[in-house]
């Protein structure tokens, strides 16, 4: 940590493109810190959910609602999208604009599929099973925890799209490389959050 800026700027010269400018370097660090803050944000939602999990107030419970197949579908789609996004970063490192754009497009499509599946799941709970967010504390916790994650994914889709456009316009430059790298971090982070949702919400919901 004690490195001075002079040596940092020297270090930068040997780094991948996204780190090559001071601005890029700063932003990537800043983004990591942002993700650490998001970690606390989601942990608050998890704590809330876990406290309210049993407060079902006579409305349907986790056991009543959750079905394993759609959940596995969502999980696999998201895991694969994290993989394709990782391939995008790889192409970025190889300075292959076309490859990067292609993988990002695949990622967006998988993201949309995930959102579609989740929306379908929400719809079936809220409408078919008659268990919307206002029916109990448990359902409030469920919809808001998953909804926050879903909203993040949705935002991520917009963001990736904006970056795809910029990559198409400008190719891989220090700035677009940084943006593509950062959106990749974001996407993988959402995957991590989902893993914990899968575990703490669905699997425990099925067990307990």
């Amino acid at each position: 940590m004690a490195a001075s800026t002079l040596t940092e700027s020297e270090k930068r010269k040997n780094m991948p493109l996204e780190y090559s400018t001071e601005e890029g370097d700063l932003r990537i660090v800043g983004f990591w810190i942002f993700l650490a803050a998001e970690l606390v944000l989601f942990s608050t939602l998890f704590a809330t959910y876990l406290v309210l999990q049993s407060h079902t107030a006579g409305a349907p419970t986790a056991k009543d609602l959750f079905k394993i197949n759609p959940v596995m579908a969502e999980t696999i789609v998201l895991l694969v999208s994290s993989f394709t996004c990782g391939l995008g970063t790889l192409e970025l490192r190889r300075h292959n604009t076309k490859g990067l754009i292609a993988w990002l497009v695949v990622t967006v499509i998988l993201g949309l599929a995930f959102i579609g599946l989740e929306a379908n799941e929400f719809y079936s709970y809220a409408v078919h099973e008659g268990a919307p967010l206002s029916s109990s504390a448990f359902l409030s916790g469920f919809f808001i925890l998953l909804g926050t994650h879903g909203a993040h994914v949705t935002l991520g889709i917009f963001w990736v799209t904006a970056i795809i456009i910029q990559l198409a316009q400008r190719g891989i430059t220090a700035v677009t490389a940084r943006k593509a790298f950062m959106v990749g971090l974001y996407w993988h982070f959402l995957d991590v959050v989902w893993i914990f949702i899968f575990t703490a919400v669905y699997l425990t919901g099925l067990v307990i």
């Binding site: 940590m1 606390v40 942990s43």
Partner: protein
């Protein structure tokens, strides 16, 4: 701006993306393993919970190291210390809240 020698970062070789593929396979495998432990086996509840939470943590580490390049940067201590503090606070939040809210009367 074509060639960049990476010294601080492991270089990304041309050819088959082994690292990414292994990451994917591992995460899928762990997911199904967790599912099997939770639904397929009928272990005592606290054992199940410990196991599946452990698996989730491993998966998170896979994402972090295989996809997120957490060990990269001009000075990686920033993001690593940041993450460690974040994990500490997140843990205080979840464990503390559960402790408080489940032990009251």
């Amino acid at each position: 701006m074509q060639e960049h020698k990476n010294t601080a970062v492991e270089s990304e070789p041309a050819g088959f993306p082994w690292k990414q593929v292994i990451g994917l396979i591992l995460s899928l495998a762990l997911t199904f393993l967790a599912l099997w432990i939770a639904v397929g086996l009928s272990l005592p509840v606290h054992v199940t919970l410990t196991l599946i939470v452990g698996l989730a943590v491993i998966q998170a580490l896979i994402q972090l190291f295989m996809f997120m390049h957490v060990l990269e940067g001009t000075d990686t201590s920033h993001q690593i210390l940041g993450l460690i503090f974040g994990i500490f606070v997140a843990f205080a939040m979840v464990a503390g809240t559960l402790w408080i809210m489940y032990f009251t009367l």
